[in-house]
């Protein structure tokens, strides 16, 4: 199944892309997807900051199980204001 992944801020710069579509196996959690992406994009690997996970514009826990067409965002430390 497919999910949409959006990158923002420092992750966008590191990934070299703002949005990708990725084929994943059924039952994968959002936390597992992040580990997969760090293999796909070696420049994400050194990112050790605390990330939050968002699916379909809501924060979720690392054990959220992804569904077809989910929009996934790995949220770096925010700094609005």
């Amino acid at each position: 199944m497919k999910v949409k992944i959006k990158f923002f801020a420092m992750l966008r710069e590191r990934a070299g892309a703002g949005e990708i579509t990725k084929e994943i196996r059924e039952g994968m959690t959002v936390g597992e997807l992040w580990r997969v992406l760090r293999r796909d994009y070696p420049r994400l690997a050194p990112v050790e900051m605390r990330l939050l996970y968002a699916v379909n514009q809501d924060y979720v826990a690392a054990d959220y199980v992804l569904k077809e067409q989910d929009e996934v965002v790995f949220v770096p430390p925010v700094s609005g204001g």
Partner: protein, 156 residues
Amino acid sequence: MFRVTRDAIDLQELVDFVTDPEAGAIVTFIGTTRNNNEGRRVIALDYEAYPEMAEKELTRLGEEAKKRWNIQRMAIVHRIGPVQITEPSVMIAVSAAHRADAFEACRFAIEEIKRSVPIWKKELFEGGEVWIGTQSGQPLNVNCSSSSSRSNSSTD
């Protein structure tokens, strides 16, 4: 009114939006780009948002504020893109019957924005640029030898 925009923010528009015959007090907060941060000479800030989620989170924090305080109306507009020294990056306006509620809800709103709304700023300073991060985390080197992810900020 909870909005992310690339345009300059109009304070009067927010104040007009929250003006209410039941209100005796309006408190506003304006975040502006400061010319210095942690000893660096700041040239400008460049904001990026996950806009759909940012507006959703702004709306959510507005609903939370209405539960916690006796307020009439709230408006928040956050600008994205480059914001020059002295220019506003964010404006909040809150109306309430009594001033204590307006002050506290406005303060809550800016703290929540800095805590949970998916917006990020890159600081362009003399000698480099750096993504600012208010959550704790390891430094992340980006684009320039002296840059790192920092928990301080050149707006407040």
